[in-house]
């Protein structure tokens, strides 16, 4: 067991860069995914049956296929299309598809948006009908009801399930190593493994980093729950 190699400066820097890439990917995809999820959830619980069907099909496909295949489709699949190849040197939005980071980010964002949209839509549907009736009695229109009554409580109700989703997203970022030049924590461990032939040490180090990150995330979410779901806590006096 040769743990000293993990702690050499060169390898610590490799892991450090991996951690930066992983966390960057995680938070950016969560941010974009959250915005998309909000829009999708509103469409899922909205009045238009066509939009409900389209978004429903989207979440069904996202939740029914593995993230790995989604990543391959976006990175390799889209890169193969002549239409995109002709444009991605010059036309603005398509230039990003050349970069591996953007492709990974897109895949993760679409994935988390699909799952979170369903969670949020479920929470919106569970809103107490009495609250909505009261809001309508006050004369609020649909937008006002959504903004003032439904969304704040739906988002609070989604918090525990969302914390699960965030932790799962952290584990999923390890799949970024399937995209060629993305060096995240798992890819860094893989590099050390193939350079020094130390699979156990390299992957245990990666596992330890992920565990620490998971505990930090769970801790943050517990604080958030204590704040936002304070009304559910048992009375102390």
């Amino acid at each position: 067991m040769n743990w000293a190699i993990i702690f050499e400066t060169k390898n610590l820097i490799l892991f450090g860069n991996g951690i930066v890439t992983t966390l960057g990917l995680l938070f950016s995809s969560l941010a974009i995914g959250a915005v998309l999820a909000l829009i999708f959830a509103l469409l899922l619980t909205g009045p238009s049956a066509l939009l409900r069907w389209i978004v429903g099909a989207y979440t069904y496909i996202i939740r029914g296929t593995p993230l790995l295949i989604q990543i391959y489709l976006i990175y390799y699949g889209l890169g193969q299309l002549e239409w995109i190849q002709a444009r991605w040197d010059t036309v603005w939005p398509w230039t990003h598809f050349k970069e591996p980071f953007f492709c990974a980010l897109l895949a993760f964002s679409l994935n988390t948006a699909g799952y979170t949209a369903e969670m949020l839509a479920g929470a919106i549907r569970e809103t107490n009908p009495g609250e909505i009736e009261a809001a309508q009695a006050f004369g609020m229109n649909r937008t006002q009801i959504m903004l003032r009554i439904v969304l704040p409580s739906a988002m609070r109700r989604t918090l525990p399930a969302y914390s699960n989703e965030v932790v799962m997203m952290l584990q999923s970022t390890s799949l970024a190593s399937a995209v060629p030049s993305m060096i995240d924590i798992t890819a860094a461990a893989g590099r050390i493994y193939s350079d020094y032939y130390l699979p156990f040490e390299a992957y245990m180090a990666a596992a330890a980093i992920y565990l620490v990150a998971t505990f930090c995330l769970i801790g943050v979410f517990r604080l958030l729950e204590n704040h936002f779901l304070a009304y559910l806590a048992p009375r102390t006096h």
């Binding site: 890169g79 193969q80 040197d89 050349k98 060629p180 893989g190 193939s194 699979p199």
Partner: protein, 279 residues
């Protein structure tokens, strides 16, 4: 309805188990060389990375084929063993050998100082140089002239070592891929500007295909032993001296009796009758 589903589930499990056993049975641990019974030839598990046309690749129906595969079969016939091919991703070739997943690596693995520290090699069975490949419109005269361009290489290969040692220091972006044919996929897609690869492999696997028509070999033939070693040999675990001696003898034998030339011409006659055994 439930009974039907249960039956389907059990049937597919058995089918998959059957497939697994089919895969495990031919790959049973090889009997020790000394006491091999004459009746059934003992097995030799050989690792290949079938993404390296024309040395090691798979046809559509999944059969491994190529120069390496044919040489391996010829050698096994010489030493009276049955070759069983095990597919392995390139960057875990050596760890897999050390973990005894297979007994030999016959997949265009170059003999280098670094690798000799971990494993043993037989004598070489071919030696071809590597070249840089970029688009025909790019004027190449040395690593510095492609500064800023993206070059793809195979992870854990001698070409990667060269690229990181010579090209990266000159300002070229080097991207490492798991398999050489994924490099070609990204070159075709336009994400890469070129690659550094074995010149026979890149000619047979890329330049001779429609997607390689705008690309060409540039620069000198790269032979430095520091990066590229002294040719491709068969990788063996340290201490397997009996097997090493057998395989060395077999290599000499097939060179002498014309089998080597036949296989060489089968794959490389179209390259101006190249003899890949090299210097």
């Amino acid at each position: 309805m439930n009974k039907l589903l249960l039956a389907v589930a059990v049937a597919s499990m058995l089918a998959a188990c059957g497939k697994k056993e089919e895969a495990v049975a031919p790959a049973a641990p090889a009997a020790p060389v000394a006491s091999a019974p004459v009746a059934a030839p003992a097995e030799l598990k050989v690792a290949i990375d079938p993404t390296y046309e024309p040395f090691t690749f798979k046809t559509g129906d999944g059969k491994p084929t190529g120069f390496d595969v044919d040489i391996a079969s010829a050698l096994c016939e010489q030493i009276k063993r049955k070759c069983v091919f095990v597919e392995q991703v390139w960057d875990s070739m050596i760890p897999g050998l050390m973990a005894k997943k297979y007994d030999a690596i016959i997949s265009s693995m170059s003999i280098t100082e670094e690798r000799l520290a971990q494993i043993d090699f037989t004598d070489k069975y071919y030696n071809t140089p590597s070249r840089v490949v970029v688009k025909s419109t790019v004027k190449f005269d040395g690593p510095a002239s492609i500064k800023g361009k993206k070059i793809g290489v195979l992870k854990a290969s001698t070409q990667e070592k060269y690229a990181l040692g010579e090209l990266k220091t000159a300002g070229v972006t080097v991207v490492s891929y798991e398999a050489q044919d994924q490099v070609y996929l990204d070159i075709k897609a336009g994400r890469l500007d070129g690659t550094v690869a074995d010149f026979v492999e890149v000619t047979g696997g890329f330049l001779s295909k429609p997607e390689g028509k705008d690309y060409q070999l540039v620069g000198p033939e790269l032979y430095e032993p520091k990066y590229f070693g002294i040719g491709a040999g068969i990788g063996l675990r340290k201490g397997e001296d009996a097997l090493k001696a057998e395989l060395n003898g077999a290599i000499k034998a097939i060179r002498a009796n014309g089998t080597y030339k036949t296989l060489n011409d089968k794959y490389f006659a179209k390259f101006n009758n190249l003899d890949v055994y090299g210097k």
